[in-house]
């Protein structure tokens, strides 16, 4: 068997693929963060909590209302997104235009409250969610066993990522959005309802996190604390990609998934730190991030 650095090529290909799958999750999550920061200049520390809410909503809707996976894929982001709009309307709007640190602290507080309340109700052992029947099993690729569900995760995440990028960068609505955040008075003069646009943008960013949560529900244990660890990594991804760069967040997300996956193969103890190591290096040599514009 051919080897690279003492690791069989077959194993390495498997790890690359796993890295891409995890990277797809990172891409989806960092995309939401990048949309919210890029357009609204809000540092959304509640993003991990929203991801968790997406997963929890999926499980709870199934347990109590019998809502299936496909419906949850649509409903959970809608519900959590609506919740995001409420937060924007009642809380974030009041500190618009202030220093970033205010939105950071506010959203961090919101996340702690949501997580704390849910820990009290549900504990941390995790809620059960059964994989939809059509995704059970997988296919042997020769170098690894590929569960059908993981393949679906890549497809779904990349589709949503691309659609979001396209909407913001290439459509008229996206142009309104970007213009509205650039000069809101002028846009309002043109008859565009900018405050509504801002609420919806925050709601949309949050809905992306919730969508990632739905994708995660069948494969990770769904607990109120599942978002907190993920959030920090995802923030590092956004910093590496360049705060606010939509395309950068997507590409960096996948890249970091792969780098983390390879670290898990060559030196597992460093796997939770490697993303931050990359972040330090990037900040040293390109402070605005790999894809960021100079501030």
């Amino acid at each position: 068997m051919s080897m690279i650095f003492g690791v069989p090529v077959a194993v390495l290909s498997g790890q690359l693929l796993i890295g891409i799958i995890n990277g797809a999750f990172y891409a989806l999550l960092s995309l939401g963060l990048a949309v919210i920061f890029g357009l609204l200049k809000i540092i959304n520390f509640a993003h991990g909590a929203m991801y968790m809410l997406g997963a929890m909503t999926t499980v709870l809707m199934f347990d109590y209302l019998g809502v299936n996976y496909w419906a949850a894929l649509l409903l959970a982001p809608l519900l959590v997104g609506a919740f995001g709009v409420v937060i924007e309307y009642f809380l974030l709007r009041r500190i618009a235009g202030q220093d970033h640190i205010y939105s950071l602290l506010l959203t961090f507080g919101v996340a702690l409250i949501i997580t704390g309340v849910l820990v009290n109700w549900f504990g941390v052992s995790g809620l059960r969610y059964t994989m939809p029947d059509m995704f059970k099993g997988g296919v042997n690729l020769g170098f690894m066993f590929m569960p059908y569900y993981r393949a679906w995760v890549i497809v779904a995440a990349l589709l949503v990522c691309f659609a979001t990028w396209f909407m913001i960068e290439k459509t008229k609505l996206g142009a309104y959005l970007r213009a509205g955040t650039e000069d809101s008075q002028l846009m309002q003069g043109f008859g565009i309802n900018v405050p509504l646009l801002i609420s919806l943008t925050y709601g949309f960013g949050v809905a992306l996190a919730a969508f990632a949560g739905v994708l995660a529900a069948p494969i990770y244990s769904v607990t109120p604390v599942m978002g907190s660890a993920t959030l920090i990594t995802v923030f590092a991804v956004v910093v590496i990609g360049g705060m606010g760069s939509i395309g950068g967040a997507i590409i960096t997300g996948i890249l970091m998934g792969v780098i983390e996956g390879l670290t898990k193969t060559f030196y597992p103890p460093a796997s939770s730190a490697v993303v931050f190591l990359v972040m330090v290096l990037v900040l040293m040599f390109r402070p605005s991030g790999l894809f960021g514009k100079e501030a």
């Binding site: 069989p8 077959a10 194993v11 498997g14 790890q15 796993i18 890295g19 799958i21 995890n22 704390g116 820990v119 504990g123 941390v124 052992s125 995790g126 809620l127 059960r128 059964t130 994989m131 099993g137 997988g138 690894m144 066993f145 569960p147 569900y149 993981r150 494969i219 990770y220 244990s221 607990t223 604390v225 599942m226 660890a229 993920t230 996956g261 898990k264 193969t265 597992p268 103890p269 796997s271 939770s272 730190a273």
Partner: protein, 403 residues
């Protein structure tokens, strides 16, 4: 020097008792500090419900012992040895806490026991697993009550090797507990003619195990041993079943599973997994009766840690009552002299190294067909007698044992 001081103190204390002098309870208060993960990944196996178990014991004691009132303070250890150390230092140096109870992450327990030794207070560790706690890290100031990695390995690993699982691949949580468990498993596997052919030490905690499961699959080992706990274990089991580990002929051996983990996985996913436990709620009338009371308080069935916290607190308070003292060495000696016979253990005994030795149980998770309700999860396959379960004193590296 401190050792000498302690010996002197306890000598004086026993002399005082022998002469009939009234040994005193300091401040007329027995103060118990409950330290556990209250919000993180180990919350459910001990956490707030462990505090409930402790309060049940105090209530059963009438809230006072020999006229002195019993007080409880509690804190979240955040699974951090640093946070825990400063909390416990404050407790023992400024707040006159006599006993620290609970304690889950092994790294926390090891850090806390050093502070207890410096200040000569007592700790009863119910949640932690590392067998090193009463081996190289033993102190005359703590007791390790419920279980440790030695019987976990003895029970589960030897059962799996005897069923033909000769080659092992270990997924180990990269901290004190995981290392201790990995060491104990390796010893048992090798002693039974098996071999550990590979190990991955994963960060604690880890959400995504797919990469590690893939490496374990590629190793071709008969058995994938999980030397981790809590959400790490349930995530690893879920991922293993997703990646078809069992279909491809490999066996999963989860070395530490709590009732709350199995409950979270459900009988459907967890069925057939063998595990070693120090206690199970549905063993006999006594355990069921106490568990019913616990469930009334908390809404869930107790883990072995919850039961251990109740039992050890009762033992502690009984010792305080018998000696009329809350001095750490006096109480510890009394506890060592008193066999434990209650809902938790029969003929349990606290050894000189602080290890409470009692029977352990090899259990198997029931199938959904066998399970009659959401908490009806284990069938007990075998009782592992106390003397067979724990590390014999003759192999001990503890400084309190003369080897």
């Amino acid at each position: 020097m401190t050792m000498m001081k302690k010996l002197l103190t306890s000598a004086v204390a026993s002399a005082m008792m022998a002469s009939g002098a009234q040994a005193a309870i300091s401040n007329d208060t027995v103060k118990i500090g409950y330290l556990a993960d209250m919000s993180g990944t180990y919350r459910d196996l001990a956490g707030p419900n462990g505090l409930k178990a402790l309060e049940m014991a105090i209530a059963d004691f009438g809230g006072q012992v020999n006229g002195a009132k019993i007080e409880v303070v509690s804190a979240d250890d955040r699974n951090s040895p640093d946070t825990s150390s400063s909390t416990v230092r404050r407790w023992v140096e400024n707040e006159d806490v006599d006993l620290v109870a609970g304690m889950v992450a092994s790294s926390v327990s090891i850090a806390v026991s050093k502070i207890l030794e410096e200040n000569d207070r007592l700790g009863i560790i119910s949640g932690s697993a590392a067998s090193s706690i009463t081996n190289e890290h033993c102190t005359p100031n703590h007791i390790h009550y419920v279980y440790d990695t030695y019987p976990l390995a003895n029970g589960t690993a030897s059962a799996v090797v005897k069923e033909g699982g000769k080659t092992w691949y270990m997924l180990t949580a990269d901290y004190a507990f995981g290392h201790a468990l990995e060491g104990d498993v390796t010893r048992v596997v090798e002693a039974n003619g098996g071999e550990v052919i590979g190990t991955v030490r994963h960060p604690f905690p880890t959400q995504d195990f797919s990469s590690f499961i893939l490496q374990a699959q590629a190793s071709g080992a008969d058995v994938i041993g999980l030397a981790n706990a809590g959400a790490d274990t349930t995530n690893a089991i879920t991922t293993a079943s997703e990646f078809g580990v069992t279909q491809s002929g490999q066996t999963l051996a989860a070395l530490l599973l709590f009732l709350t983990d199995v409950h979270a996985l459900g009988a459907e996913t967890a069925q057939g997994i063998q595990l070693t436990t120090g206690w199970y709620w549905d063993m006999n009338d006594e355990t069921r009766e106490w568990s019913d009371r616990f469930m009334e308080e908390t809404g869930v069935r107790p883990t072995m840690v919850h039961a251990g916290i109740y039992s050890s607190t009762m033992q502690y308070l009984n010792a305080v009552k018998a000696t009329g003292s809350d001095d750490a060495q006096t109480v510890r000696k009394q506890m060592m002299d008193t066999p434990i016979n209650d809902m938790f253990a029969k003929n349990g005994k606290i050894r000189v190294d602080g290890r409470m030795v009692h029977d352990m149980y090899l259990a198997e998770v029931k199938t959904p067909a066998e399970s009659t309700n959401e908490w009806d999860l284990y069938k007990i396959l075998r009782t592992i007698p106390a003397e067979e379960s724990y590390r014999p004193l003759s192999e001990s590296k503890c400084k309190l044992v003369n080897n």
